[in-house]
């Protein structure tokens, strides 16, 4: 048992650190910070600028991808270090839809033309992807999806509606689960995996506003959308297999340990400035105990993640144990967003995102912490709700 970094790892760590210091643009930091404080929407440029910079540097935008597809192919330890350093420096996180989701599906199940067409744009950050999985009637029961794709000559004609399509407002492409065989014996058997250009006539995106006022997710409608058959991944009606593969990838890294660590550090700073009963809030026994409880949970989760990473490096891919990381990781994310909101007392109230003004209100650290708290209720629901994750563990790990 050994968790100390080797000299090589330490060298790698300082390489990452130096790279971030030299290459992370200050204007990007300022732009994102001021929008976050005001609760304003981030632009496509805000979301992809860092991705584009990493994409030009040894495939660092895709830490897990094999080198042959242009990825960095980091070892598990390197991935851990990379994620930690990016979180410490509060770099904008990379949108997962291309890099973590459809990218691995394309290089694992796609044909050569598809790899050549799509992987470079995902890697460089030039092409923005979104995910077409959920439908209004298909949330946790994803296999019940109804969006249909009917083959006519060399095209599929797609009709139906997807929902919760995160950042569809910026997306160039969407990867979709569609029903190609409505008569299959089991609902899972009639599903295919299609790549659709968002500029195709018949695709409509409508925003869904979340409770913090943010616009992250959308409804995406398909009205007789013509999709070339070349855009089918793998075999027709085998989409469920690729979807499950993707979901396992989606869950790895979802624990967000490094970012939660940073968030707790930040809360401690806020609580040192806020006063309660004439003393800094950080001295309040009840508040202190909640911070410590979150820290302990996070410390345990960090080692759970390291154990999973170590297993991965022994050649076993992310398995159902990643459900554990999702459950605990999101529990902690929600706990820390709540603590941050709680720390600022009355200044949880101001909500500036809906105003045209660019004036801040209250202490600099306080703005929009309640928005983040409300926004993060999503975490235990998305990516397979935490109840569904428990079902997965019950079935796949405990054999119930």
């Amino acid at each position: 048992m050994d968790t100390a970094f080797s000299n090589e790892d330490l060298k790698f760590q300082s390489e990452i650190r130096d790279f971030i210091k030299t290459n992370y643009p200050q204007e990007l930091r300022d732009s994102i910070n001021s929008k976050r404080k005001l609760g304003k929407e981030l632009s496509r440029e805000d979301l992809t600028a860092w991705h584009k910079i990493l994409g030009k540097h040894n495939g660092w935008s895709a830490p897990s991808w094999p080198k042959q597809y242009g990825g960095a192919e980091f070892t598990p330890t390197q991935k851990y270090i990379f994620e930690q350093e990016c979180a410490k420096a509060e770099c904008q996180y990379i949108m997962p839809f291309g890099i973590n989701m459809v990218g691995p599906v394309i290089y694992t199940f796609g044909n050569e033309e598809q790899k050549a067409q799509h992987l470079p744009g995902i890697l460089s950050g030039e092409v923005f992807w979104c995910q077409g999985y959920s439908e209004p009637g298909s949330g946790s029961d994803l296999a019940s999806l109804k969006t249909s794709a009917v083959k006519e000559g060399d095209h599929y004609i797609v009709n139906g509606q997807k929902t919760w399509t995160t950042m569809a407002q910026y997306a160039d492409w969407i990867f979709c689960l569609v029903r190609t065989n409505p008569d299959a014996e089991k609902p899972q058997q009639g599903i295919s995996f299609l790549l659709i250009d968002m500029k195709t006539p018949g695709v409509t995106v409508r925003p869904i506003k979340l409770m913090d006022g943010s616009h992250e997710v959308n409804e995406t409608w398909f009205d007789n959308v013509k999709v070339p058959v070349e855009n089918l991944i793998g075999q027709e009606n085998m989409g469920w297999t690729y979807a499950k593969f993707l979901l396992a990838h989606e869950r790895s890294g979802i624990a967000g340990v490094a970012r939660s660590k940073k968030a707790i550090e930040r809360i401690k700073q806020i609580a040192s400035s806020e006063m309660s009963y004439g003393e800094p809030l950080i001295q309040d026994p009840a508040f202190k105990a909640k911070i410590a409880a979150a820290e302990l949970e996070l410390s345990a989760l960090e080692y759970t993640e390291l154990r999973t990473l170590a297993k991965d490096s022994a050649g076993k891919g992310p398995g159902p144990e990643s459900s554990l990381l999702k459950i605990k990781g999101t529990d902690i994310q929600q706990a820390v967003t709540e603590l941050a909101m709680e720390a600022v007392g009355y200044y949880a109230n101001p909500h500036l995102g809906t105003t045209l003004s660019n004036e801040y209100v209250g202490p600099d650290y306080a703005t929009n912490l309640s928005g983040t708290y409300f926004n993060f209720r999503k975490a235990s629901i998305y990516g397979g709700s935490n109840e569904i994750q428990r079902n997965i563990i019950a079935k796949m790990v405990l054999g119930l």
Partner: protein, 392 residues
Amino acid sequence: MNFDYTEEQTLLDNMVTSFVRDNYDWDTRCNIVKSEEGWKEENWKQFAELGLLGVPFDEAYGGLGGKSADLMIVMEQFGKGLVVEPYLPTVILAGGLISKLGSEEQKNSIIPEIISGNARCAFAYAEPQSRFDLNDVKTSAVLNGDDYVLNGFKSVVFGAGMASHLIISARTEGEQRSESGITLFIVDTKSEGLTLQNYPTIDEYRASEIIIENLKVSKDNVLGEVNMAYDAIEEIVDISTIAACSEAVGILQVLKDSTTEYCKNRKQFGQSIAKNQVIQHRLVDMMIEYEQAKSILYMAVTADLTNSDDRRKAVSAAKARIGKAIKFVGESAIQLHGGMGVVDEYMVSHYFKRATMIGVLFGNTDYHMKRYMTLTQSGISSSDEAISVSVT
């Protein structure tokens, strides 16, 4: 980065596992705890033969030079079998103090005896008023010629009844709660001036109340420097706490696995109760608690235990978090076993009781939570990195 055992550790793990499998089936264990002695000398001899009694000791004294990870392996397997022989009190706690503080002469005379199985030791530190505070020592030691004379009372001393030697903490100077002025003495358990009241514990181990009345101890039997024992006590109790956490993790694994099996087999309303989602999710939460407990134990075992601040922080984090897991997994195991959970006859209650008492040992969850908070929140580290307002 890896969490694999070395070849030697795998051998050690296999050895302890086979010992428990071959010598500690449930009926055998029941007979051991019901016996008058409450342990089995033959098992102790086997520990000696297997080299287990030498695991943490320096090779110079015939030990194996093992570290916390090695003790973790032993204790985790002992936990799985609810092994009652006083390994933790003798080898890890008292043995740790002797290794840390003993003179060459003391080490040469006692450690080989422990390793060969001839000597067993216990550490008498707690007092009725001290609760978990290691610095709270009323028992006094006064120098009279070449001897110290000790008077006082020690409570809940694990393994004292089967020990040949006792290590006693006593105040040689200062106020009752002062960290300085505490001295350790090593004495024969049969010494005049010692009265042991031996009793079984709720989890079927053995402990003693010890009355100390005009106990004469030669200056030669002071362990370490006079007045200066506190730091060593704290360190060795910390190391022993990791060992106790390891035992708990072994127990939690048994509780989680056996409860899962039980729910698969138990039928109500014409089907296995594990078909109910409410039961499934409880079992999943037990698994998650177990995994988190194991992870934080790994954190503590791989921490830099030679740095006292890192050590304190890691040990208290582990004990507090594992204490939470003990409560959840233990109580859930009983609940899901239904009526079978609350009877003495079935093994699950015994695992629950032992785990719960480990929760108390060396300070409970709240105690370690407070220690952890004191260590981590006394000051806020300044950071020169840019910090944005976002917490996500």
